[in-house]
Symmetry: C2
Subunit: 472 residues, 2 copies
């Protein structure tokens, strides 16, 4: 609960890294590797961190204990996240619980983290993942409000993409009756993010208007559903045209295809006075556009820099550009416009246990009342983490991407190897197409430069970027 | 109601300036001057602005009609606001009402305006004043929800410091039974400002903590009272020690003497994690301090630059310094801190009629329930506007300073002349003391420089400024 938890966790994570554990190879999986690796991320309390369990105390049965875990081995492309086997039963500190994981959620921060763009993930080798659901398997001392067998959803700074996790009991929440493990893993990050943005910073009220970017993404769908819990809220949602039907059914009042339309113009046509709330996960020039769309007493809530993600590996140009175009604002501009600019990231809120618990409680209530329901886009095995990340990064998903810890069947695995080869070919094709497109666009640009004033050029460049974003 | 009202008003004000009206001298008042002057500020609707009433239509009785008005004749010291007589009955446009003014409210923006630091006041000669209370004397066409004799409070962009005002009916609000004209003129600006900051941007909830600067000022007292309408809110209030008893009685949990204490340190001692809401009317370095005091999900609401006001006339050094130290923030900092920075100024919200009406309705309800009650610091005659402004600028007031349109009695006026001479002497003394203090402080500073590292020097300088602020 205290702001001082974070440094303690960091320190703890580092301590663990200094004690490499035994691992064994799992021959059955084509993707499984065996490497010395840290045990499951454990966000300990300060008191526990002060008294680490000595390695010498291990019981013999713990040596034969093993579980599979995804491990980020270094920053880069999809192949940097590898399936490994961790050995040795993790010890439980006071206040902690051990959870046998059923499903995990994939988030944008995980993609940023793989490229080294998310500082809240400890440096590799490390198990990523901020959320999962599963069943409590063991309790540490002083845990009174959980019991073995409880079905829980878990929110943690990192380390959730593995079969077994050890976390403070306060980071777990009881799953309501009838909730699937998929829904449970899909709730925490997206819905707490959307909830705190809309109702704490945004102060959303009836008759207001909200812009939701990436409206078919996890936060986008959560935000749309939460907007619909308030009377007469107008939701503008950007997404590619193929997703419009689904997001409209989900509650988006005005879907906008940002690839073929200027979303600012479209919104101004419908709401000439502007918007009450803009949720901005993109960063860069889109933050400026969002700010200019605010009406008096409007709130811009920035919660990411998805514009930095252009391609599988870190794209220095996209990072530098997003950084360079980063929005900054003077109080005088805010005063004269009666505007608010907020920043949100759940990853920096992990010490605010009480705030998170309150939000989670409301969200679980809304779920039970049937007012919200995560849309599961697809479920992947841990072995397929690369495909799962690719789907998200290429914005092919509509809703949440889930990982299941259930092992793949043998025949599925063989299929997987074939697909893998095809995908590599496909990636090459995409790269070639990108190069081709770039050439074409540059040729176009040259032509335009001859014809049109500079201002028009800028617009074309912006559109080009938006097309790129969709393709990557 | 539309955002396009503002330019129309501006245009209208300019039109009016091009038609100077007759004025006559009022010998009785030592301060009264007679000059060609614009009629009362009329914030017309667009429709009305499109069809200005031709001057030729004036009835003979209108020529003998006159009323007293305060007029800002140019930017500068207290003497730039002069009492003049305007002649000619103002014409009413559709949707407007004429109000016989009883009392007017004084606001910080009026002090800024006199020094040329508030762009929402049309340029001189112009009648300042954003709020008043009085009795409706005439109705324009299409006004159905007001009648002659209604007691109203009025909120307008400017032009309220005179005996007679013409405003759109939507800028008037019916006074509840039993409300005094003083209370009515004290409510609009301070309470709407405090209300929208705390409950729209701030989203104040039980158990939260709020920093209220200038806690003995009009907005400060309104904010404290509104905080107390929410359970268990902790209010930190800065004010000089002599005002602590009164602001404590008014609801401030922790009064802090900013002249002798570092308010940041004092707050950290009590709330190590920081604050949920900081209301910042000061600007400059205080905005930075406020931002750093925010806890996660905390909101900084900047609503002025009182630090720019140092002395009776524009202090270029203070203006430049406040401007130079103006707070600006990047979205990345906001994201990593989960913070919000908002800007508020009622003067830029005048076209948001519906929003204002909603806020005013809640405020009048709270007043009737006895949950809020303006604290009237003092009441001045129009003739004493200089004294009234001086009292506010020197931060001598505890609560609201009110102007009454009731003329001064003869014997009071004679007293006034004597006092005036004394005040001029006093001002000279203050100036001399300031120069003296400066010399002394510089001598001290030189000594300190020899003894202490640079960091300490900075602290001393800050303290010095705070002392100055109090003295001015």
């Amino acid at each position: 609960m205290s702001g001082e938890d974070a440094p303690a966790q960091q320190q703890n994570a580092e301590e663990q890294k200094q004690q490499p554990q035994e691992t064994k190879t799992l021959d059955e999986s084509p993707k499984t590797e065996s490497k010395p690796d840290p045990p499951p991320a454990s966000a300990s309390t300060e008191a526990a961190a002060a008294t680490p369990a000595p390695a010498a105390e291990k019981a013999p049965e713990e040596d034969t204990f093993s579980y599979r875990a995804l491990v980020l081995t270094g920053y880069g492309g999809y192949d940097k996240v590898k399936l490994q086997v961790k050995k040795g039963k993790p010890t439980l500190k006071s206040g902690e619980v051990m959870v046998r994981v059923k499903t995990c959620g994939l988030n944008f921060a995980d993609l940023m983290a793989r490229q080294g763009l998310y500082e809240r993930l400890p440096s590799p080798p490390v198990t990523p993942g901020m959320e999962c659901s599963g069943i409590i398997e063991a309790l540490g001392e002083d845990v009174t409000d959980r019991k073995v067998g409880d079905k829980v959803l878990v929110l943690n700074r990192s380390g959730m993409w593995q079969e077994l996790v050890v976390v403070p009991a306060v980071h777990t929440f009881l799953m309501p009756e009838g909730m699937s493990f998929e829904d449970a893993a899909a709730l925490p990050v997206n819905y707490i993010t959307a909830y705190l943005m809309l109702f704490d910073f945004g102060n959303l009220r009836p008759n207001q208007s909200v812009l939701v970017h990436m409206a078919a993404g996890g936060v986008g769908i959560a935000a749309t559903q939460l907007c619909k819990t308030v009377n007469d809220v107008t939701v503008f949602g950007t997404a590619s045209a193929s997703k419009h039907e689904i997001i409209s059914e989900g509650g988006v009042t005005h879907p906008i295809d940002y690839r073929t339309r200027d979303y600012v113009e479209e919104i101004r046509k419908i709401n000439p006075k502007g918007l009450d709330i803009v949720l901005d996960p993109l960063g860069g020039s889109d933050t400026h556009k969002g700010y200019n769309l605010l009406k008096p007493m409007g709130k811009l809530i920035s919660y990411g820099a998805a514009n930095m993600l252009a391609g599988q590996k870190k794209n220095l140009f996209a990072v530098a550009k997003t950084w360079y175009q980063q929005f900054s604002v003077h109080t005088l501009s805010l005063i004269q416009g009666n505007r608010s600019v907020c920043g949100f990231h759940l990853g920096y809120l992990d010490s605010e246990t009480e705030l998170i618990a309150q939000a989670m409680s409301v969200i679980l209530d809304l779920y039970q009342q049937g007012k919200i329901k995560p849309r599961i886009d697809s479920t992947y095995h841990l072995e397929q983490i690369g495909d799962a990340m690719r789907r998200m990064q290429e914005r092919s998903n509509i809703g949440k991407i889930i990982l299941t810890t259930e092992p793949m069947k043998e025949e599925e695995k063989k299929e997987e190897v074939k697909k893998d080869e095809e995908k590599k070919k496909d990636d090459k094709k995409k790269d070639d197409k990108k190069k081709d497109d770039k050439k074409k666009e540059e040729a176009k640009k040259d032509e335009k430069k001859k014809e049109e004033p500079k201002k028009e050029d800028k617009k074309a460049e912006e559109k080009k970027e938006e097309v790129k974003k969709e393709e990557n």
